[in-house]
């Protein structure tokens, strides 16, 4: 049960987007620019950063939808997404991405936690200033999105098939111009209501 009355059948942030379209538009455009538009980091890498920060924030909807989008970009490799969430240092990802995830983890703790050493380590592993910049902005933006989604206690279905199919659509189209229609609640059971 959300803390305020939101349109029914819209999971996670989409309920808030439907409720307040004026603020939704720039938020979607920001996510699109950060995660989907061309960059030297692949969309899969950027979605992994978003997923990792969302898992640190314990945001069920965000870590599952962005994990599903990441998996879509990574040829369905859900195992890799799980590895990044559980222990990215042991995951089969580049040393550069590991250094960027370390910076993202520091941003999650607080901006002042990021040290010059963290930045130098990422640079030594081949990260450009633009990639470091985008990593910090993705991490900071997802701390905002995560708190927005959980701070109003939005409905977050537990059915993984919902995230897989939605993740494939967003992975293809990006985060703007998406058709947002209510999902029939019976189609997306909340398997684990106690975990809310």
């Amino acid at each position: 049960m959300a803390h305020i009355t939101l349109p029914e059948g819209f999971p996670g942030i989409s309920s808030l987007m439907a409720y307040r379209p004026e603020t939704a538009k720039p938020l979607n455009e920001l996510a699109h620019a950060l995660l989907h538009l061309p960059s030297t980091l692949t969309p899969g890498e950027r979605e992994l950063i978003a997923t990792y920060v969302s898992s640190l924030n314990d945001c069920y909807y965000c870590q599952n939808i962005h994990g599903a989008i990441a998996a879509h970009h990574l040829h369905g490799n859900e195992k890799l997404v799980l590895e990044v969430k559980q222990n990215y240092l042991a995951a089969a990802i580049s040393d550069k991405l590991k250094a960027l995830l370390a910076i993202a983890g520091k941003v999650w703790k607080g901006g002042k936690q990021v040290t010059r050493e963290d930045i130098e380590r990422a640079r030594e592993r081949g990260a450009s200033d633009l990639e470091i910049h985008d990593t910090v902005l993705i991490a900071a933006a997802f701390c905002m999105y995560n708190r927005y989604v959980d701070g109003l206690a939005t409905w977050q279905p537990r059915n993984q098939d919902f995230y897989r199919s939605r993740g494939a659509v967003v992975g293809e189209k990006g985060h703007v111009n998406l058709k947002r229609e209510p999902v029939a609640v019976s189609d997306v059971p909340e398997n684990d209501a106690a975990a809310r």
């Binding site: 455009e29 920001l30 538009l37």
Partner: protein, 83 residues
């Protein structure tokens, strides 16, 4: 002013009102908040943040602009962000 972590960000403001503000304050020899460099570096992304902030803080809403700024100031204080 201390240099930023990312010199490329500081050295490459793209055309934007933030870049104009930086130049104006630099010409006067004044200190300025380096958030301006963040917003001038990648306006393709950060212009959306500017629009978001304008809507949230200045758009039509039942909370007054002053009260909204108090919420922002209180949160920034909680985050120990001086600016």
């Amino acid at each position: 002013m201390k240099p930023m972590f990312l010199p490329e960000v500081e050295a490459n403001p793209k055309p934007s009102f933030q870049a104009d503000t930086i130049r104006m304050l630099q010409a006067k020899g004044e200190e300025y908040p380096q958030i301006l460099h963040l917003f001038a570096y990648q306006p393709e992304a950060t212009a959306h943040l500017t629009r978001f902030t304008r809507e949230l803080m200045r758009g039509a809403a039942p909370l007054t602009e002053g009260f909204r700024e108090l919420i922002a100031a209180r949160t920034s204080a909680g985050n120990h962000c001086l600016f």
